[in-house]
């Protein structure tokens, strides 16, 4: 992996009312890696994601994406950067009044001027890449199952061929088979498209299956960061509990000794 830093966070502070979520948080994400972000409930995993993509304003600190400090650049430049990342929200956040195809085409329609036939072809491609059957295209989000909605949302997030993909608990609420297929999908997309993935998750299997590095959020900052095997030997009690609890043992047994950046079971 190259040492090319694609997202760099320094001294981040987030606060809601009296509750400080992050303080002095530093984090680097390298180009081409899948970074898993874990932490107990309420440690601000989703807040961190929302702060990077600009849905939440930080009290202090700087966030640099593609070498640009997001708060300092003019709006037009910011829009250009926003086109280079895709976000998958927890419940998909598909536009409920549009079909899956129209959802995928929404960013194309807004940012590009393409003939309808080509847009239909591109939407078909993204829908297939996200692992949905072509028959899902004309359906509305309310007609899809939870897993299919996530895939449709992924297709929309991939619409503009982003360089960074932000995923917020992509496997939450999926059955184990669906979740495993999603893990595999993310690994494959990362390899074929060269994506950088910022992955917030609770799912230990996902961590084993897809992540190159894992960042543990606790005590308002990134407590530890490294490969699974590095974190397993970390002495912090929460990390010990997390990677050596009963569920972790089951996942570990399934994935063997989890060499760093492993892809194949």
């Amino acid at each position: 992996m190259s040492g090319d830093v694609i997202i760099s966070i320094r001294g981040l502070k987030n606060q809601f009312g009296a509750q400080v979520v992050h303080e002095n948080l530093d984090l680097d994400v390298y180009r081409g890696e899948v970074l898993g972000v874990v932490g107990g409930s309420g440690t601000g995993k989703s807040v961190l994601l929302r702060t990077i993509v600009g849905l939440n304003h930080a009290r202090q600190g700087t966030i640099e994406v593609f070498g640009k400090v997001l708060d300092d650049i003019p709006v037009r430049e910011r829009r250009a950067i926003e086109k280079r990342w895709g976000v998958l929200f927890q419940d998909g956040a598909l536009f409920s009044s549009l079909t899956v195809t129209q959802n995928v085409q929404a960013p194309l329609r807004e940012h590009l001027d393409l003939p309808q036939r080509l847009m239909d072809e591109i939407a078909g491609l993204k829908i297939a890449l996200a692992g949905l059957p072509a028959s899902a295209g004309p359906k509305f989000p309310s007609e899809l199952s939870g897993g299919m909605r996530k895939r449709a949302a992924l297709a929309r997030a991939l619409a503009l061929d982003p360089e960074i993909l932000f995923l917020d608990e992509p496997t939450a609420g999926l059955d184990p088979i669906g979740a495993a297929a999603f893990d595999e999908l993310i690994s494959r997309l990362k390899q074929t498209l060269g994506l950088t993935v910022f992955l917030v998750t609770h799912d230990l299997d996902t961590l084993h299956a897809t992540c190159d590095r894992i960042a543990v959020l606790a005590e308002r900052k990134v407590l530890a960061i490294g490969t699974i095997s590095q974190l397993m030997t970390h002495r912090h009690p929460w990390i010990q509990e997390y990677f050596h609890g009963p569920r972790a043992r089951a996942a570990e047994a399934a994935w063997g000794e989890a060499p760093q950046g492993s892809k194949e079971p």
Binding site: E121, L125, L129
Partner: protein
Amino acid sequence: MTKTSGHDGDEPLPDVALTQGAGAPVLAFSGTFTIYHAREADRVLNELALPRAKDAVIDLSAVTRLDTTGAYLAHRTELKLAAQGARVTYRCPDEDWLSLIRAIASHDAKPTEPHHHPNAFVRMLERLGTSVIGIYDGARDALGFTGQIFEALGRAIISPRRLRFTSLVHHMEQAGIDAIPIVFMMSFLVGSVTAYQGAEQLARFGAEVFTVNLVAVSFLREVGILLTAIMVAGRSGSAFTAQIGSMKMREEIDAMRVLGLDPIEVLVLPRVLALVIMLPFLGFIADLAGMLGGGIVAMLELGMSPAAYLDQFRASLGEWTFWIGIIKAPVFAFLIGLIGCYEGMRVSGSAESVGRRTTQSVVEGIFVVIIADAFFSVMFAELGI
């Protein structure tokens, strides 16, 4: 916002050149094959006359950038060549690009169905037919819904414990008490306007004194209760639809059913009953306000004393005038409550449908109230009261 063609404006444009190589024709791709240049790339490829040959080469060596869309376009070209019987080989310096093209080939993506638009006349007929069937279905379902409400009412009468008393009182306050100021204001103003216009016209016959009759009869029989019903349909009917609709959307109604709670009994009955109880009361207030408005105009414009106004008022009333107005109120209330709750229950999935149903509820509520009022008029005329 301007539609930009990429993040870097100086990226080389995509192009494809056809050359006859050593035996096999070569399609030399060059430039940027990304989604930001997809329009150009698509046009170039569509304008290119593909060669018929046994072998063909797609050469990507001069391509500067390739993303999924570019890879798809290369793959599409490969498929077209293959359809003409050519065996296609790639010449590509970048292993990753080849694996991307192979990954896309393995997906067998089909373009999504193009939207088909029948002509305007057919579409108009289709919409007409759909809405006629919709009206029939809606009327049938609404009748079923009415039955369910009466069933729940019957159960509540047999065992009054089933009536959600707290909820009933809450809705009586929201739909009834809270509506008093607006109903009062509106009727007061309409009452004084009627008196003012009436006085002007009647003065031509020297019959100004009958202004009082005009205001009294029109308000007590028709206008007071009709205005109130329209206001309540807009105010409470829409609220019922939005409340029940958003609960339906978040599966709260389903949750009630599986917990053994009857949503008709818990949500609909208290709302409908609250309206049925409060609307006659609001109608009465509207009558009072209208008479007050009329009275003030009579005093200021016609110089009538309050005592004379009241005498004339009493003389203008028939035995039934007041009751004809008030009798209609519970019927209007039931119709408004029924439509409000029914439309709420029809909300499905999307946020958009809550909005559509709410609008529908207000429009239908007002429409049905006016139709019912016309029926009452005919009925009372036939009865001769």
